[in-house]
Every structure is written in C-alpha cells, then in structure tokens.
C-alpha cells in the first residue's frame, strides 16, 4: 500500500524524487489516523522548507496537526486543489492529494528517510 518508489519520514510524510525536484505529501497511514481531513494550510510558493520542520497544517473534523517537511528545499508548486478538496488527502494521498513540489537543496537528506519496507514496519500494528 506504500509505493516502493517513495521515501518516508517517521512523521508520515512521503517524498517522490525526480531529478532535482521532489513531490511531497502525507501517507495513507497518516490520513487514516487523522480521519476526515477538512482543511489544509499550504506553504506559499517560494517558501523554504527545512527537513523535519513544520511547513503547514492539516485539520480533521476533530484535530489540528502540523505537517513536517520530509526534506529541505524551496517550494515551487503547491496543490491548490486541496483548498477546495482537502478530502483528496484521504482518498488519494499518494496521487491527487500531493501537497507541494520542492526544489531539493540537499539530496543527501534522503538518506535520513525510510524505504517502503522500513516505513511499513514503523506503522505495523
């Protein structure tokens, strides 16, 4: 259920690297734990993310949770569909529910992330 071509943080965000750019989002596990997501506060394009630092907020019906950047870099695009349809984070977290595209500042940071097997272990039981 966690795609093999992604890297994962312990805070339940994923990264899909394509050259010097990466797409980031939250995992299906995270979306399930949050429940129905009703609001997303996105970073602005141009914002600089720092690995493992907060870069936005997701709100479920009941709770407010921080989003933590899985990698550092500059935001080039944000998924504006999420403003109108935050539920994409629940229905399609690895696809249509992507959150931002980032120009990577240090690809070595990827080594601090988990592969799908290690992430599956982290979220098991």
């Amino acid at each position: 259920m966690n795609p093999d071509d992604l890297r994962y943080s312990r805070e339940h965000e994923w990264v899909r690297v394509d050259g010097g750019e990466a797409v980031i989002g939250i995992t299906s596990f995270a979306a399930g734990e949050l429940g129905d997501i009703v609001f997303v506060e996105l970073p602005e394009p141009g914002a600089r993310l720092r690995q493992f630092a907060s870069f936005g907020v997701v709100e479920s019906v009941k709770a407010v949770s921080d989003l933590f950047a899985p990698i550092s870099g500059e935001v080039t695009h944000v998924n504006t569909d999420l403003r109108e349809r935050p539920e994409l984070l629940n229905s399609d977290p690895f696809g249509g529910g992507w959150i931002a595209k980032v120009k990577l500042s240090d690809t070595a940071e990827l080594d601090a992330l988990l592969d799908s097997g290690a992430y599956a272990e982290l979220t098991a039981g």
């Binding site: 429940g35 129905d36 009703v38 609001f39 019906v61 009941k62 407010v64």
Partner: protein, 371 residues
C-alpha cells in the same frame, strides 16, 4: 500508541465496539468510541437516516422518597414540579455563585426523578447532591445507578421507524422530552424521546447486562434503514450544528446559565434553590458576556480556546469550532462581551497567530426540517 496512565472504565458495549472496529479514546474516564469509520459519514447518517450511539458512560442518579420533588426543585435551576408523569426537562445544577456544576436532564418516571448527568461530572454531581440533601435535611434518597444502567441512543429521522419495528410501543406518538417504560427487542427499557444531535431520536435506558443484546438488535433491525454506529466525534459535530452547549467547552463553573443563552431554563419564581440569589442578580443586571454563533468568512477553522478580536482587541474566546458537515461552512461558538454580541456583526478569530474574519450568526446553525 502509549498506554493510558490510569485504568479506563469500559461500557457494557466495549466488545461490540471492538468488533465493529471502533477507534477507542479516553473520555471522561471511559474508553469510548470516537468513530467507527468516517466522522463525516456518521454525522450525515444521523441527519439523513439513523445513527446509534453508546452513551453508557453518562451518569444516572435516581431521586426517590417523600421529599424527592422538594429536593430536586432545590437542587436544580429548572422546576421539576412542572413535570407531568413521563415528562423530562433540560436543567442545570448551579453553585451558590450561579456557576454551572453540570447540565443534565431530569426525567419524571414511575420510580422518581431520574437525573442524567455528564460522565465527566458524575463524581462532582453525586458529591454536590449528597451535600445538599444533608444540608436541607430532605427526606429523599439519591441512588447512583450509573454502573448498572446502559444508555443507547438511536438518533435521526428514521429512529422512530427503527424502534417501531422492535417494540409494541408507538414511538412516533411519544412526545419530545417524554419517556415511557416498555420493551424494545424484548428488553425492558425506559424509552425517552431526547437527544443531543438536533435530530429526532430516542434514548434507551436499560440494564447494563442487556445492553449488548439491545445494541445488536437495533443494528440488525436498522440494516435496511442505513443505520450506522456513531461515535463521540459525530456527536460533537451534531450538537455543535444544533447550537447545543457541551460541558467543558461552553459550560463550566465560571459560566452562568444567562451567559450561555440558557436563562429560559432558570425558574427564579419557583422559590428557594441553590444559586437563586446570584442568578436573580445576573438576570436583573444582564449577563456580562454572551455565547454567540460564528461563521468563518475567511479560510480557517476556529477551535476551542482561540482568541476572538473585536476592533483588533482580544475580547472573547472560541468555545467550540469545526467544519460543519451539513452546512459546508466553518462554524464556531464563542463568548463575547454582552454589548458586542450582535447578529451580523463581524469579529476576527486568531488562528495560528493570524486574524481571520467571522460573522456573528443566530444560533442554532442547523434546525431540522419539521414534518
């Protein structure tokens, strides 16, 4: 997941919740289902069909004896003397200073006056009632039936239809805020037409040992009515849309009923009762702050504890807020200075250090369509 530091109590339906895949969370000392699946789906099920709640954590205290009524009238701010047999009323226990100790429902039953209180306040209510009974030397007894009583609530426009399929009673003819004793699925119940969802519905009190059988029978009979088990998550969004206060959010020891728009519940003319002097002076002078409804005009959700600004100054506080599943709006309730409470006026709510516009609106946010 970390283990809870203290042992949580379980309702008689705990095994049923686990079998249904509920997410269980600590609430008022109990391990309670917050949701079985999607809170939004559960919420919509109650608005459109029928949802089933386990409310067995709530407290049930039976007041009996020759002076049961005199004692009840002295303890609560409403007038249980106005209750016909089988009738119920929303009420509150207030302290001498008028602060709310709990909000509750008083049912006049064939056994006496049944007080149903919040689980989180159960111990405080029992202690308070015990103290009052001794102080006033009332010839009345307060029996704590909370442990032995389960409470199961089918709520929604199809709740009456559901019950009718399981009982010889005529649930449709039972008046709002009325109760009667009967059997549902062969199980003895006190059947009350009360609830906390803003929808038609019932609350069924039964012996805790029979609760699993009653729960299963209701779910089975409701299969054709699109029934869902519903958790405390949807209970909270449903009551918020209906503008109903939640103790711990809108109500607490520092709030009096007039501030919470519950002045109509207080019967000053009934004679002496706890808190009367303080409440009479609040009524005369008018409350200093008032509970208002807010709809967010900017893109943010107000939550419990967020500051409210009037003309840029922090003057109020949000008590509850969410994205309303029924209305497609972001709604909240908040306390504002009484002179600032005005439907149509704009305020700002501070969300993560930034102000967002909100408009004061009339409560409730949602009113069910009446037949």
């Amino acid at each position: 997941m970390t283990e809870a530091p203290v042992a949580l109590r379980r309702t008689p339906l705990h095994a049923a919740h686990e079998a249904l895949g509920a997410r269980l969370v600590p609430y008022a000392g109990y391990e309670m289902p917050v949701q079985y699946g999607s809170i939004i789906e559960e919420h919509r099920t109650v608005r459109a069909a029928v949802g089933l709640f386990d409310l067995s954590h709530m407290g049930e205290l039976l007041v009996t004896g020759p002076e049961a009524l005199a004692f009840a009238r002295y303890a609560v701010v409403s007038d249980p003397g106005a209750l016909e047999p089988g009738q119920a009323q929303y009420s509150m226990l207030c302290a001498e200073d008028g602060g709310i100790i709990d909000d509750l429902i008083v049912y006049r039953t064939d056994e006496g006056y049944l007080i149903v209180c919040n689980a989180a306040n159960h111990d405080a209510v029992v202690a308070h009632l015990g103290e009052l009974r001794e102080r006033g030397d009332f010839d009345a007894a307060v029996e704590d039936r909370s442990e032995r009583t389960a409470l199961i609530a089918p709520q929604g426009p199809r709740a009456a239809e559901l019950l009718a399929s399981l009982t010889d009673l005529d649930p449709g003819s039972l008046g709002y805020y009325h109760s009667l004793r009967g059997t549902v699925a062969g199980i003895d119940c006190l059947v009350a037409r009360t609830g906390y969802t803003g929808e038609d519905g019932f609350e069924l009190f039964c012996d805790a040992r029979r609760a699993p059988a009653l729960w299963d029978a209701l779910l089975a009979a409701g299969a054709g009515l699109s029934i869902r088990p519903c958790g405390l998550g949807s209970r909270d969004t449903l009551r918020l849309e209906a503008g109903m206060p939640l103790y711990g959010n809108e109500l607490d020891r520092t709030v009096n009923p007039f501030e919470a728009n519950l002045g109509r519940v207080v019967k000053l003319e009934k004679g002496e009762f706890v808190g009367r002097a303080a409440l009479a002076s609040v009524q005369q002078a008018g409350p200093r702050r008032k509970l208002v409804g807010l709809v967010m005009r900017d893109n943010a959700i107000a939550r419990h504890g967020y500051p409210v600004l009037i003309d840029g100054r922090e003057e109020g506080v949000v008590t509850s807020g969410t994205a309303s599943p029924t209305l497609d709006q972001r709604i909240a309730m908040a306390y504002l200075p009484a002179q600032a409470a005005a439907v149509g006026d704009e305020v700002e709510v501070v969300v993560r250090d930034r102000p967002y516009r909100a408009e004061q609106v009339k409560l409730p946010f949602y009113k069910r369509p009446r037949e």
